[in-house]
């Protein structure tokens, strides 16, 4: 496996570990390192036990690792809970006041009270970790200022006190120097979705807060004034989706973001988008269900739900990005697909990817083609009919108030000009018209990408956020001279089997890796192309899949 260092920061909610995590992550990215962040937090504001884990490496990395090299413990509980995660040569950093058995690991007991204000232990810890990793003090201070603002004057002192003290201990765990490279930015999945959507022409977003979907909206809101977006917190998810549809109907490319429980309330809007042929992007950031489930943890348990939500029959597409880069591209693509097919397009993500900060090359807004519904409005014509029958099923979409065409959209079955009808022959033709748009989605469908051996003995099939874990597990197998590969689906509906069935059939063992208990994607594959995998790796305890987890399961299943 690559030479990487994992820093695990553990403590209670409210102790400031997020601040340490952010400072370190940012400093690592600015120094030229790659990172993968995993945030595991409880659904509470104070107390409990949370972790922020940063894995860093000079070469590209894609997944979190279970082992830690530096454990920054804000309390004794963090030592007790995570000492078993420490790799050989691991280092523990803790307040000297805390009592914990370090079981022979190198332990830096920080005399926080004599180094500065004990309340600033988190910032001292950032200085200490930075020094252990060999990061530059000035850079750390800059990142600190960006994180907490200039107001905290003692912050810089605490940071320096920490790093000076750590250097004096002589302990270090420095990373190999990063290869000189293009500068990178630090983004998580949800921020990347927001950026991609803005690049793709988004003008309107509405939401009702629900973790882990909310941070898409926070990211949009932080740039809304500058970008001229309207982002509105609605009274509930039902309002959010209906508002977005109203906005889209009136010409503003629109999205909503939520999680499974909020999406349950939006289901009527999915169907309305299908019937009124209104473009909309719906981001579902999955967390474990059923019901309220584990509000702050991760899962891929809503594939079936999203695939089937909404009464009646109409086309849809489901995208499932596997990295922040894909989040950026696919958010823009989703807006375009929604516009092209005049209907709902989904982005399935999850808490892990939503919160996972990575180092990426700055996204290029010029690399995606934004949508401009106004520019494709048909010219004025007498008797304009919003739902005119066409060969492709897509009818020219006029917008209300732009020209003389009157636009009539209806949730009832309707005639070509949008008025309520109970003419059953028209009904049948409208069904066919709407379903013809599936061909567009099939034509535009993104093929799954194969990484690794083209003729593998073991093929790990995955979708969405599990890309990184599967990819690193396959790389590990290859390093043991096993012919392995990963097949990643960043679009899970519609599926076009010609694009991947031959690979599935020629691979000796196909294992489907997904973050749910019932193998929803495995069943979908079987339903759509009759393919039955040799084994499944599934995780549903609320934590993200890791390469280690996959490898252990492969052994248990007798695959390796």
């Amino acid at each position: 496996m690559e030479k990487s260092v994992t820093i695990l920061i553990g403590g209670e909610a409210g102790q400031g570990l997020l601040t340490v995590g952010q400072i370190l992550s940012k400093a690592l990215v600015r120094s030229g390192y790659h990172i993968v962040v995993t945030q595991d937090y409880m659904s509470r504001i104070r107390g409990g036990h949370n972790t922020f884990v940063v894995r860093a490496s000079a070469s590209p990395i894609h997944a979190p690792r279970e082992g830690a090299d530096i454990l920054i413990a804000f309390d004794a509980r963090s030592v007790n809970e995570h000492i078993r995660n420490l790799n050989d040569g691991g280092i523990i950093v803790m307040d000297a006041e805390e009592q914990a058995d370090c079981q022979g690991f190198a332990c830096l007991r920080v005399p926080a009270a004599s180094l500065g204000k004990p309340a600033l232990f988190n910032i001292m810890a950032a200085g200490i970790a930075g020094a252990l990793l060999g990061l530059d003090d000035g850079l750390l201070e800059k990142c600190l200022r960006e994180e907490v603002g200039d107001s905290l004057q003692e912050g810089g002192e605490a940071l320096r006190a920490g790093s000076t003290w750590a250097r004096e201990t002589g302990v270090s765990r420095s990373l190999p120097p990063p290869s000189p490279d293009t500068p990178r930015i630090m983004v998580n999945g949800n921020e990347a979705l927001a950026l991609g959507a803005m690049a793709g022409g988004l003008r309107f977003a509405s939401f009702y807060p629900m973790t882990p979907g909310t941070s898409v909206m926070l990211a949009l809101l932080s740039h809304a004034d500058r970008m001229g977006l309207i982002v509105e917190q609605a009274e509930d998810e039902i309002a959010a989706v209906n508002m977005a549809l109203g906005a889209s109907f009136a010409g503003a490319p629109a999205l909503v973001a939520t999680s499974g429980g909020g999406f349950a309330l939006m289901a009527e809007g999915v169907s309305l988008a299908g019937m009124t042929e209104t473009p909309i992007v719906i981001i579902v950031a999955q967390r474990p269900g059923p019901a309220t489930g584990l509000p702050t943890r991760t899962e891929q348990g809503d594939l079936n739900f999203v695939l089937h939500a909404g009464h009646g029959e109409f086309p849809r597409a489901l995208l499932a990005p596997g990295s922040p880069e894909q989040c950026f591209k696919l958010a823009a693509r989703a807006l375009r697909l929604a516009e092209q097919s005049q209907g709902p397009v989904f982005i399935l993500t999850d808490q892990f990817l939503a919160d996972s900060c990575r180092a990426v090359e700055p996204f290029d807004p010029g690399s995606v083609q934004p949508v401009h519904p106004r520019e494709s409005c048909p010219a004025d014509e007498t008797g304009y009919a919003r739902y005119a029958f066409t060969e492709s099923g897509v009818s020219p979409r006029a917008l209300p108030g732009f020209g003389a065409n009157l636009v009539v959209a209806d949730s009832d079955e309707h005639t070509e000009d949008g008025h309520i009808t109970e003419n059953l022959a028209v009904r049948a033709r409208m069904v066919e018209k709407r379903l013809r748009k599936s061909d567009i989605l099939r034509k535009e469908c993104i093929r799954p990408v194969c990484l690794g051996d083209e003729d593998p003995d073991i093929l790990l099939v995955c979708w969405g956020s599990t890309l990184g874990a599967a990819r690193e597990a396959a790389a590990e197998l290859s390093s043991r001279a096993i012919k392995a590969a990963t097949l990643h689906f960043s679009q899970v509906w519609p599926l076009v089997p010609e694009g991947f069935l031959p690979l599935l059939e020629r691979s000796r063992k196909v294992v489907i890796v997904e973050g749910n208990a019932t193998g929803q994607f495995a069943r979908l594959l079987r339903r759509e192309c009759g393919f039955v995998p040799h084994a499944r790796v599934s995780r549903y305890d609320g934590l993200p899949l890791t390469p280690e987890y996959i490898l252990r399961e492969l052994v248990d299943e007798g695959i390796v």
């Binding site: 983004v187 001229g228 109203g246 009136a250 010409g251 934004p370 209300p400």
Partner: protein, 283 residues
Amino acid sequence: MVCIEDFGTFETAWCPGCGNFAILEAMKKALVASGLAPRDVLFVSGIGQAAKAPHYLNANVFNGLHGRALPAATGAKLANPRLTVIAESGDGCTYGEGGNHFLAAVRRNINLTLVVHDNQVYGLTKGQASPTSEQGFVTKTQPHGVFSAPFNPVAVAVAMHAGFVARGFSGEIEALAGLIAQGIAHPGFALVDVLQPCVSFNKVNTFSWYRKRCAPLPPEYDPTDWDAAVHTAAEWGERIPVGVIYRNDRPCFESHFPVLDTRPPAYGSVDRDALREIIKAMG
């Protein structure tokens, strides 16, 4: 010049003698009086007999889901504030299924006009009680009469300091057209709750029942006096006041978004340079 013929005449799915016809007539008159052509107006409705009304005149229409006229109307208005947006639906749709949206729209004070055909019953689904049905109102689904107290939308809207609150009666077309036109002219949220007989399913609140009770507000009535409006709005019995019951000049929701003046979402395009800078700053 806009004239009433511009809005056309359509075959309807309403029962003969229904109060909906008069509301449709008043709506057209209000549009003409407001100088609005069909292309300037977007009607957003929900589901019910009332919600079909926008299909019976020439205009832009988004006939969405039961209960959801207001959220869709809000989204459309924010996307393109240059449209005159009128939400139109029944009492069940607006105050029952869409109750939360009603409260939110009042709070936002978004600049749209809500016209509610209030027949105190669910017409389209054949006569079940609605939130405005009176206590004791017997239906097939409330065989012992309605137990719950009725919802008074006008009183609630006044209590919440809605921008413009009016009650009308479908039996007074000219007066109703005037109320709708004032609602459209009001720069904020405007509620026009219209009492409307349902000849098929409401045998209690009939045309003559309303006719006997609906009393125009006296000329000296001051709709900007909130305390007086609270009393007037609550009046419901032998006398039911109709007219503009309350109005204020709260700034409308849109006024908080400068971009809605300069470059509303439906007109805008991506500022790639600004986005590039935002992305660069994340490094």
